[in-house]
Symmetry: C2
Subunit: 220 residues, 2 copies
């Protein structure tokens, strides 16, 4: 089962020995996580996670429980930051939650580390995967530092709408604030302003986008 999946997603698969391929498969498990389940909490080495279906959210959390979403992983994406034992240079902790019901293959961290020691191609693949996420995180940092709150919220609502394929974002103000690393009052105030402008309608169920064009203009 794993053999066929890894053949598709690991560019190094054909370059390593039969023994190493077998070793990786033997140290793999298939998990199905229900929506909302925490998969990795930054502490142990949870392993290398390959998303088969659904989506995962990667985020940082402060001691007080404040969060900021770093990026999301979809079908075919690989999470290296949950395998801190593979990459010595990663010294920070992230959290990973299933954002939908998600099926994932997980390769044990120590097993992946062992074969990557023997195979430079695996090592390069793991590092390149991590470095490509560096760019996502820099984008978040740039947003948080340099963008006004109205722009950030407009981008968040647009992204959520595109991601879910719906004009209604079914999240509470508190949830939106947590995902953006902001405070609920700040989000509520800004949503009230957007509603006053006729850009969104705020209801108990969430936030409905009324004027996509103006929302998009705010993101520019």
């Amino acid at each position: 089962m794993f053999e066929n999946i890894y053949k598709e997603y690991f560019p190094f698969w054909e370059k390593i020995s039969d023994e190493d391929r077998e070793y990786i498969c033997r140290n793999s498990h298939m998990f199905t996580y229900p929506k909302g389940r925490n998969i990795h909490n930054g502490e142990e080495c949870s392993g290398v996670i390959l998303v088969r279906s659904g989506s995962l959210r990667l985020y940082m959390m402060s001691d007080e429980g404040k969060e900021i979403t770093l990026y999301r992983l979809y079908r075919g994406d690989l999470c290296m930051l949950s395998a801190s034992c593979v990459l010595d240079a990663i010294t920070f902790d992230v959290f990973v939650d299933a954002e939908e019901d998600s099926q994932c293959c997980v390769v044990s961290g120590p097993a992946f580390a062992a074969v990557s020691q023997r195979n430079p191609d695996i090592r390069i693949f793991a590092l390149e995967t991590a470095v490509s996420r560096f760019s996502d995180v820099m984008w978040v940092l740039q947003q948080v530092l340099f963008m006004s709150m109205d722009k950030r919220l407009a981008i968040f609502l647009s992204d959520e709408s595109a991601r879910t394929g719906s004009d209604t974002i079914t999240l509470t103000h508190g949830q939106i604030a947590r995902y953006m690393g902001s405070a609920r009052e700040v989000v509520s105030r800004m949503l009230k302003y957007f509603a006053g402008e006729g850009i969104v309608e705020v209801s108990r169920g969430g936030v409905m986008i009324l004027d996509k064009k103006r929302l998009r203009n705010l993101t520019l």
Copy 2:
């Protein structure tokens, strides 16, 4: 000249061919940058910079000129982010300034990229260097998002004092604000509060730390 320097700082040096070593040396230049000089402005591929003496500051800048320091590089440190043509996965722009008079060896980006294509050891070294800086940037993001301004300012003053070996930080409030990605008024207000508490003394020349112990407590 370069041969002896690279032997010391590049762990892959003995593992690559004589031709590749010669090629890297032939595509290297020694530069002396005066304090304050901008070395890399995010646009072109400035090359791989190895610091021989002095120090460089790496930062992001918004369209409005707001800055945030990501990290500093000292003797023996290597800057890969100034060589975006070497690492495809790096898609963000950083700026690099000489913070003191600094001497640097610079390997041309295309030349470094060419030899790293041929040598997995170089590729792994370049990626590991980039990934290790990922952790520094995550720390900055954490600070900006989750820390109160008094704590951030206390950490900044402590770090500057440790870095320069002096109790007086000879920076204006505006400079401190720029380095921290904050606003001058916010820094001035907080320094006034620190001064009122007897932790620092603010003068025309900069900020003098009076009570190291209380400043340190604020950083915890």
